[in-house]
């Protein structure tokens, strides 16, 4: 019989972790929704931002959360550069070309980082790294809590941007029907660039948050790429609310399964969940259309 306290503990930290996972996956989902492109280098932009936080903390003593904001700005700039320089040139080509271009970017960033900074593991320890908050008997890691709150704020901000501002509504219009949006005078190309920038910037923000409790290595992107993929499929392709809930589900599923099986295998649980969803409800838990 499993301890109820342990389950509650796992659920709490799973929910907090899930909020952060959701922000990572939101970028992937947004870019897919608007551009119908999957950014394979998604997890590796995350890795770049983690290294940014690491260097800022180690050499300048800047808090990783300040690093997260700089990571967000770096993501905007990097997204603009890559979208304008590479992606825009292959938009409209067969899918294989866009897949290969983003996959090449993955290889260049991931192994470029390994060449530049070596394959070793790096960690950074801000004051809240080991701090624990005791809430009615449930112990919460400060790093998780701060990360989850920032993630939640970012998600709400994105939601407000997409539903309340003119640009956000134009972005959604482009994702629903590009031709109709262009007829209404929306510059679809600009919307593509914007969605790519926001997507990469979100993952830049998440990288800074994750660096407060997760180790930093050049290949760290692989794991988060996998998690985002599973979350997006789970939540229904391109649906923002679905993606967020998908993130929470995966966070909780991973933490709870870690009670029963070795922690290294928890990604396997997420993957099996994904296979089940594909077989039973291929449009995802909250999606409407199959892609």
């Amino acid at each position: 019989m499993v301890d109820l306290w342990l389950l509650g503990q796992a659920t709490t930290s799973g929910l907090l972790l899930g909020c952060i996972y959701a922000v990572v996956a939101l970028g992937l989902s947004l870019i897919w929704g608007v551009m119908e492109i999957v950014n394979f280098a998604h997890g590796d932009f995350l890795m770049l931002s983690m290294y940014l936080s690491y260097f800022l903390f180690t050499y300048l003593g800047l808090d990783p959360l300040v690093g997260a904001i700089l990571g967000f700005l770096m993501g905007l700039a990097l997204g603009l550069l890559i979208e304008k320089g590479l992606i825009e040139k292959v938009l409209g080509s067969p899918p294989i070309v866009t897949i290969l271009v983003t996959f090449s970017i993955l290889l260049i960033i991931r192994y470029g980082a390994m060449a530049a900074w070596g394959p070793g593991v790096k960690t950074l320890h801000p004051w809240y790294f080991m701090a624990i908050l005791d809430l009615w008997g449930v112990r919460i890691s400060m790093a998780y809590l701060i990360g989850a709150l920032i993630s939640l704020a970012a998600t709400i901000a994105l939601h407000i941007f997409l539903t309340r501002t003119y640009t956000g509504i134009a972005l959604r219009a482009t994702s629903q029907n590009r031709l109709a949006a262009e007829l209404l005078g929306i510059d679809a190309k600009k919307m593509y660039t914007l969605s790519f920038c926001i997507g990469v910037a979100l993952v830049g923000l998440a990288g800074g948050i994750l660096s407060t409790f997760y180790y930093v290595i050049p290949e760290v992107g692989g794991r988060f790429c996998m998690l985002s993929f599973v979350i997006v499929v789970l939540g229904g392709f391109g649906s923002l609310l679905g993606t967020f809930l998908g993130g929470l589900i995966i966070g909780v599923a991973e933490e709870i399964s870690a009670i029963f099986i070795p922690p290294v295998m928890k990604d396997v649980v997420a993957f099996i969940l994904f296979l089940l969803i594909l077989m039973l409800k291929p449009s995802g838990l909250f999606g409407e259309v199959t892609r």
């Binding site: 590479l86 899918p95 866009t98 990604d267």
Partner: protein, 346 residues
């Protein structure tokens, strides 16, 4: 038998004669060249060609881009090694490894056929990571340390039954022979009904479905054939190197990405394109690794793999049709094998 006649017709053309000459050169090469590193590199070229051809059956002919062929490769490699411990000859191990891999690929096709282009590719990439995690933590199959071939093979005299030679030449012929068999089988398949169905699915899934093709079934079949040959290639790796570990056989960079780059260099809309691509890419990568690898230490891997990315980026942006497609489009080459691919339609 129609396929046999078609092959005869192919070989009597000018390009066919070049192909025959190349095949003869490949057969007598080890008798002329004594350089063992070179023979070993050529064996790797054939092994990667087997994977690249199999990969391209999915990518070029069925429209399923895979970044996870290491999964099929690793299943074949592990099956052969585990059967060696039971005293089973590598010949049977290789066949069973291929069949197991094919069976897995077929079953995988059921959920994966629901994923369209981008998501299929991402799904296969993720599958590779999952297999690496599982095998690196699975004690019964050696965990992260992997498996050494049973000790008695090192002690027993080299024989064709156990395939335990030290020099690379026997493995050279093994890989070449299997590559030849694969080329013939794929040619026959692609010029029969399933082959046409694969290409119909690649061109337009909805239209294929509307014409009464069971899209899921034929995607699964394409994956199974691809998985079979990739699994056999995994078996070749095991008998050649006598040692396997999850980081080698489930490696994204060393196994899954090689056929992608080789296929793209050679051209994905031609049957033999991936072989040409392997001929160019694999020796370049191997010699670079041998010459430069030692001097840069662990960071070399980063430089090495990042340069793969640059190569891939340039090809996919500049010449996505590959070398064979490029030659065909300039009229310098007639489609060498009646590939039926997009190369001659565009």
């Amino acid at each position: 038998m129609r396929a046999l006649e078609m092959i005869k017709a192919e070989l009597s053309t000018k390009a066919g004669r070049i192909f025959t000459a190349a095949a003869i050169v490949a057969v007598i090469l080890p008798l002329v060249v004594r350089d063992q590193f070179f023979i070993n590199a050529m064996m790797l070229v054939y092994m990667y060609s087997i994977i690249a051809l199999a990969w391209n059956l999915m990518n070029g002919y069925t429209g399923l881009l895979s970044f996870g062929h290491a999964v099929f490769f690793g299943i074949g490699a592990y099956t052969l090694m585990l059967l060696l411990y039971r005293g089973v000859t590598p010949w049977i191990g290789m066949l069973l490894g291929g069949l197991l891999s094919a069976g897995f690929a077929f079953l995988l096709g059921v959920p994966f056929s629901r994923l369209r282009s981008h998501w299929f590719a991402l799904g296969t990439l993720v599958l590779g990571e999952i297999f690496l995690i599982v095998f690196a933590n699975w004690r019964a199959v050696g965990g992260a340390l992997g498996l050494d071939q049973p000790r008695r093979f090192l002690l027993s005299p080299p024989s064709i039954y156990w395939l335990n030679y030290a020099r690379p030449t026997p493995y050279y012929y093994l890989a070449l022979g299997i590559l030849g068999l694969e080329l013939l089988s794929l040619y026959a398949i692609l010029n029969s009904r399933p082959g046409y169905f694969f290409q119909a699915i690649r061109e337009d899934e909805e239209a294929a479905m509307a014409s009464g093709i069971n899209v899921t079934l034929y995607k699964c079949i394409s994956m199974a054939i691809s998985g079979f040959f990739t699994g056999v290639a995994g078996g070749i790796y095991t008998v050649r190197f006598g040692y396997i570990d999850p980081y080698a056989v489930f490696s994204m960079m060393r196994i899954s990405v090689y056929p992608v780059i080789a296929g793209l260099i050679g051209g994905v809309y031609s049957l033999i394109g991936p072989i040409i691509g392997s001929l160019i890419f694999v020796p370049t990568a191997e010699y670079l690794r041998a010459i430069v690898g030692g001097t840069l230490g662990s960071r070399f891997q980063g430089v090495h793999f990042a340069s793969f990315g640059i190569v891939l980026l340039i090809i996919s942006m500049r010449i996505p049709e590959g070398l064979m497609g490029w030659l065909e489009m300039r009229g310098l080459l007639k489609p060498l094998m009646a590939s039926g691919g997009g190369g001659d339609e565009r």
